[in-house]
Symmetry: C2
Subunit: 430 residues, 2 copies
C-alpha cells in the first residue's frame, strides 16, 4: 500500500456530509481499489458545532476555507461551497496555485471559469475534477472524456435537471398546474425557495456548457447557451403532446454543425418511444451520439447526497490512483473557440397552441400568415367546438427555420380571433 | 505532442476493420485527446488479400499473429481473434511477457483466463484492457471500475446479449415462434450459424463473469455462472407476461450476499415499468446498484463494427494517455476467491405455466402439491375454458426457495391432469 492521500473538504452541506459517509462506509473497498487509503484531514464549513450525523473529530478545522489551500498535509481540496465566484473560486485558484488537486461539484464555477481553471491546473500538473457537477451520480464526464474517446460527437443531449423533470412528470400524471406543483415541491424540499435556477433552466444550462466543452474539445461557453425554462408549460400542452405521441421534457441539447456550436435548453416534445421520454421523476439521463458508438444512454439520479457524493469520490479515486486526463478532454491550451449558432437559425419542427375564437374563417387567416412566412403545416388539431368562445387550436409545423416560425407567430398573435399569446414548443426528432 | 503509440492488430474481421476505420476517421480528434497519435504498424489476419474496404498498405504483415508479440516497434497488441484458448491466448500471453499492453474484445478469453492474464500483466506493468468484451459500445467496465468506484455494489444486472434481446422483442411483437425467428435472424446475419453461444446464454455468461469480478473485486469465475437460455420461451408465455405486467428478458444477474456470489443467466420476468424492460431489439443495458449512487442504467449497442471498435479504441486512448487501473478494479494478487451460491438456494418469485386438462379438481391437486412444499400462490390465471381439453393454467408464486419450487414442479408434473412439462420463469422484483 502506498501512503494515504489526504483531502480537505470545504462545505459540509448535503454533499459534503455524503462524501464523509462514502469515505467512511466504503473505506476498505476504496483502499483496495486505490492501493492506498483516502483520508480526510481538514474541513471547513459555516457552522463548527452543528450536528451533521457524522463525526468530524480529529480533523483540522478552518474558519476560512481558502486557508486550506496552504495546508501542507493536504493533497486534494474538495470544494463543495457553491457559487460561480467568491470563496469557491478563490479556494480553487489558491489550491491549484499551491499544487493541490481540486475536486468540485460546482457547475456554476466550471460553467463560468472552467477554461481558466483548467489552464491553471494543467500548468501546475494537478487535476480539476468535476464529475459531480453534471448529472449527479451518472459518470458522464468520464464516459465522454475517456470511455467514448474514440468517437467524434455531433450531438449530446439530456435531462439535466431533476427538479424540472419531477415537475413535468407530476404535471403529466396529475394534470395539475405548474404553480401548484412548484409550491408543493418547495414544501417537500425538491425545489429551492428561489426556484429560478432550476425552473428557468439555468442549472441545466451550466451543465450543458460543461458537456459541450468535453464533447467538442472547446472552451466552456456558458454565455452561448440559449435558455428557456418550463414556467409556461401547461397541462393542456402536456395533454396535446400525449395525443400527438410526444412527452414534454426540459432538455439541454448541444450540437455541432459547420464549425458552429448550438447550445440550447428548453422544453421539448420527444417521441414517447425514445428512451429519454421514459426517464421520469427526479432522474437524469444523458444521450451521447458518437460516430462509431451510435447512441449511448446514461441514466441515474441527478442529485442528492448519495449520488453526488459517489461522483465526488469517483474523482478522488482517480486522483488516488494517479490518473490524469485533460480537464475538458483536450489539453486546456488547445481548446478551440467555437462560434455559437443562434437559435434564430435553428432548424426544427414546432408545436404551436393557439387560443382562438371558434368562428368561420379563423383557420384560413392563420394558414395565410404561415404561408406568408414559408412555414408549412403538418397536423392541425381542434378538439373542442364552442361557437364564438375561445378554444385551443393546435398545429404542428414541418421543419423550418426558427426565425420564420417566430415571425409567423408574431403575425398570428396579431389576428383578432387569436385571444392569447401563442405557445410554441420545439419538437425534437432524435 | 509525444511520440506516437504503435499498435498491432490481430484479426481483421468486423471489429478489426472497425478499429482501423475509427483510428483513421477520428485520427485528429484522438491525437488531440491523447496528446499523441495512435498508429497501427502491424496486422495479422487469415487472408492477406481479401478486400476489406480499408487500406492495409504499409503495415507489417504477420502470418502468425503470435510473432507480433516480439515486434520491437509494437507498444500495444489488439487481440481480435476470439476463442478462449489457442492463438488468442498464446498471443496475449506472449505480448504481456514481452512487456506490451493488450487490448481485447474477447469475452471468452477473459471469462476463462482473466485472473491469470491480469496477474501476469500487472507483474509486468502493462494493461490488459477488455472494455469491448462486455456490452459492446457501453463503457460499463470503466463505469464500474472508475466512475462508480466510490460505491460498494451488491447487484449488477443487464441485457448482455443483443441477439437474444432482438429475438425476444420480435417474439413479443409478432407472436411468432422461437424457431421461426431464429432461422430468420440467421438469414439476416443477426444470429450465428451455430446459435448456441447466444441463445443458450453462454455469451451472456462470459460477460457476467467479467462484470462480477470488476464489481466485487474477486477472481473471474465463469464456472460459477448458472445458465439457462431462451429456447423454451414461447409466445404464450410472453403473452401471459404482458397480461401480468411483465416483459421477458434474458438477463445476467450477479449479486453478493453473506460473502457468497450468485451469478445467473436466464429468462426473467421484469416489470414493464422498469427501465430494462424498455430496452428492445439488439440494444444492451446494464444496471448497477451501488450503495451511494443508487441505481444507474447504461444503455447502448452491444455489438457490431462501430460500437465494439469504439470500445477497443477507448481502451487504446487510455493506454496512449498513460492511464493504468487494476485489471479487475483491485490488484490482481488481491482479488478474493468468493464462493458461489447455488441456484437451488436462490430466493425469488416464480411464474409457472402448466398445460392441464380442463376438468374439476385439477386446481385442488396442484394447490395440494404446492402446499406440501411450502410454496404459496400469488395469482392464478386460467383464461380458456374447454372441458376435458388441454388449457394453459398460469400461476405466480410468492417468494420461495428455488429448491422448494423445483420439488413442487416435479410433483405437479406427475399429476395425471398435467399434460406437458411445466414451464417456469423467474420473476425479478428489482
Amino acid at each position: 500500500m502506498d501512503k494515504p492521500i489526504k483531502i480537505a473538504i470545504a462545505g459540509l452541506g448535503t454533499v459534503g456530509v455524503g462524501v464523509l459517509k462514502v469515505l467512511n462506509d466504503n473505506k476498505e473497498a476504496i483502499a483496495a481499489r486505490c492501493g492506498r487509503s483516502i483520508e480526510v484531514c481538514a474541513i471547513s464549513a459555516r457552522d463548527r458545532t452543528r450536528d451533521r450525523g457524522v463525526s468530524i473529530e480529529g480533523l483540522t478545522w478552518y474558519d476560512n476555507p481558502v486557508d486550506m489551500a496552504e495546508d501542507d498535509n493536504v493533497d486534494v481540496v474538495v470544494e463543495l461551497i457553491g457559487g460561480s465566484d467568491g470563496t469557491a473560486k478563490a479556494l480553487c485558484e489558491a489550491a491549484i496555485e499551491n499544487g493541490k488537486h481540486v475536486v468540485t461539484a460546482n457547475k456554476a464555477l466550471i460553467a463560468h471559469h472552467g477554461t481558466a481553471l483548467a489552464k491553471a491546473a494543467e500548468a501546475k500538473g494537478v487535476n480539476v475534477s468535476y464529475e459531480a457537477a453534471v448529472a449527479g451520480g451518472i459518470p458522464i464526464i468520464k464516459a465522454l472524456r475517456e470511455g467514448l474517446a474514440g468517437n467524434t460527437f455531433d450531438r449530446v443531449y439530456g435531462i439535466l435537471n431533476g427538479t424540472c423533470n419531477y415537475m413535468l412528470t407530476d404535471m403529466r400524471e396529475t394534470g395539475r398546474d405548474f404553480d401548484v406543483i412548484l409550491s408543493e415541491a418547495q414544501d417537500k424540499g425538491y425545489a429551492e425557495a428561489d426556484p429560478s435556477f432550476d425552473v428557468d433552466g439555468i442549472d441545466a444550462a451550466h451543465k450543458l456548457a460543461i458537456l459541450t466543452s468535453v464533447a467538442f474539445g472547446c472552451e466552456v461557453n456558458f454565455e452561448g447557451v440559449q435558455v428557456e425554462g418550463i414556467r409556461h408549460v401547461s397541462p393542456i400542452d402536456i395533454e396535446f403532446a400525449e395525443e400527438l405521441g410526444y412527452r414534454i421534457k426540459l432538455l439541454g441539447i448541444t450540437s455541432r454543425k459547420n464549425g458552429h456550436v448550438e447550445q440550447r435548453v428548453h422544453p421539448c416534445m420527444v417521441s414517447k418511444e425514445h428512451p429519454i421520454s421514459k426517464v421520469e421523476d427526479v432522474f437524469n439521463a444523458v444521450v451521447v451520439e458518437g460516430n462509431f458508438v451510435d447512441r449511448a444512454v446514461f441514466e441515474g439520479r441527478g442529485a442528492g447526497e448519495g449520488p453526488t457524493a459517489s461522483a465526488v469520490v469517483g474523482d478522488l479515486v482517480d486522483i488516488a490512483r494517479g490518473l490524469s486526463v485533460p480537464t475538458f478532454s483536450v489539453a486546456a491550451d488547445k481548446l478551440k473557440k467555437l462560434p455559437s449558432s443562434p437559435l434564430a437559425r435553428h432548424k426544427g419542427s414546432y408545436y404551436v397552441r393557439l387560443m382562438v375564437l371558434d368562428r368561420p374563417g379563423v383557420f384560413a387567416d392563420i394558414a395565410c400568415v404561415l404561408k406568408e412566412h414559408g412555414v408549412s403545416m403538418e397536423t392541425v388539431v381542434q378538439r373542442h367546438h364552442a361557437p364564438d368562445k375561445s378554444v385551443p387550436l393546435v398545429l404542428t409545423l414541418h421543419e423550418t427555420q426558427e426565425q420564420s416560425m417566430l415571425d409567423a407567430l408574431d403575425g398570428i398573435a396579431k389576428l383578432d380571433s387569436v385571444v392569447e399569446t401563442p405557445r410554441m414548443i420545439r419538437i425534437e426528432d432524435f
